[in-house]
């Protein structure tokens, strides 16, 4: 039997369409070059309707990054659930970044120009990854497999490497995914740095 959508469900569906449209258009064209009108017309939503859901451009960007953060965190949790080793957790991180590489790269490149709320959300995502890496590293330390590093430096070293390659993708991997092409090299290098 066909279910009749309530007004609330329709409203939520439109909101999600706009968030999805924002995510794909920001990934493709960047945060700074994409207008609200383009995001709305991409999914055949009237220009005025966008402002009913997101009165300010920043509200839409925050909603998109919030949704992205949830998807990324869920995917990372799923990918790393059975990984106990540090290498396993880092592999899981790379696999998730590969899936969301285009959008993630936009954030890395344009972070300085984005509203401060977005930086807060993005760095909170990092905090979750840092926590997983830290827990895995503690187990490796107990086994004597790696050297001891301050928690934040272990994460910052890893994320600096990854972000450098992602933000210079055109130099390292102009045709495809830089994580696909350089992920193993980055991971092996990092493990060599921390291994005892």
């Amino acid at each position: 039997m066909l279910k009749v959508q309530t007004r609330k469900e329709k409203k939520e569906q439109t909101r999600l369409k706009l968030v999805d449209s924002g995510m794909s258009m920001f990934a493709e064209r960047g945060f700074l070059s994409t207008t609200m009108t383009e995001i709305a017309s991409n999914v055949s939503v009237a220009h005025g309707t966008v402002f009913l859901h997101f009165p300010k451009r920043e509200d839409l960007i925050v909603a998109v990054l919030d949704e992205f953060g949830t998807r990324l965190a869920d995917a990372f949790e799923e990918a790393s659930r059975k990984k106990e080793s540090l290498r396993g957790v880092l592999e899981a991180h790379l696999s998730v970044l590969k899936t969301y590489e285009a959008f993630y790269a936009r954030i890395v490149r344009e972070e300085a120009h984005l509203p401060s709320k977005l930086q807060s959300l993005f760095l909170m995502l990092h905090a979750g990854v840092s926590q997983k890496i830290y827990l895995a590293s503690e187990k490796e330390l107990e086994k004597g497999n790696i050297r001891k590093f301050p928690r934040h430096l272990l994460f910052n070293t890893w994320i600096s490497l990854v972000h450098y390659y992602i933000s210079h993708k055109e130099l390292f991997s102009p045709q495809g995914s830089v994580i696909e092409e350089k992920g193993s090299e980055i991971l092996n290098h990092f493990m060599n740095l921390v291994r005892k």
């Binding site: 949830t70 401060s116 709320k117 760095l123 905090a127 928690r151 910052n156």
Partner: protein, 85 residues
């Protein structure tokens, strides 16, 4: 546990996947176990803020004043605090 759709804490945004992540282990709670007291009530803003500041600092070595700004900005996007802060 049973397949539970992941939602996030209405106070700090932490993903809540397992019952232990929710206040008092109650999956109907809007808030996580970190943002609530032993009765499941939402902790004061300043307490939640402090805990988030610490999380930014310990995870990435961020300076305390910068971490405070980050945490304030983050909490201002969450349902529990967006109207009051």
């Amino acid at each position: 546990m049973a397949d539970l759709k992941c939602i996030s804490c209405g106070s700090c945004g932490m993903p809540m996947r397992e019952s232990g992540d929710f206040a008092l282990g109650n999956v109907a709670s809007l808030y996580c176990s970190h943002c609530t007291d032993e009765e499941g009530k939402l902790l004061p803003y300043e307490t939640v803020l402090k805990s988030n500041v610490h999380y930014y600092m310990s995870s990435q070595g961020i300076d305390e004043s910068a971490a405070t700004e980050l945490a304030k900005n983050l909490l201002s996007t969450k349902p529990a605090w967006k109207r009051s802060h």
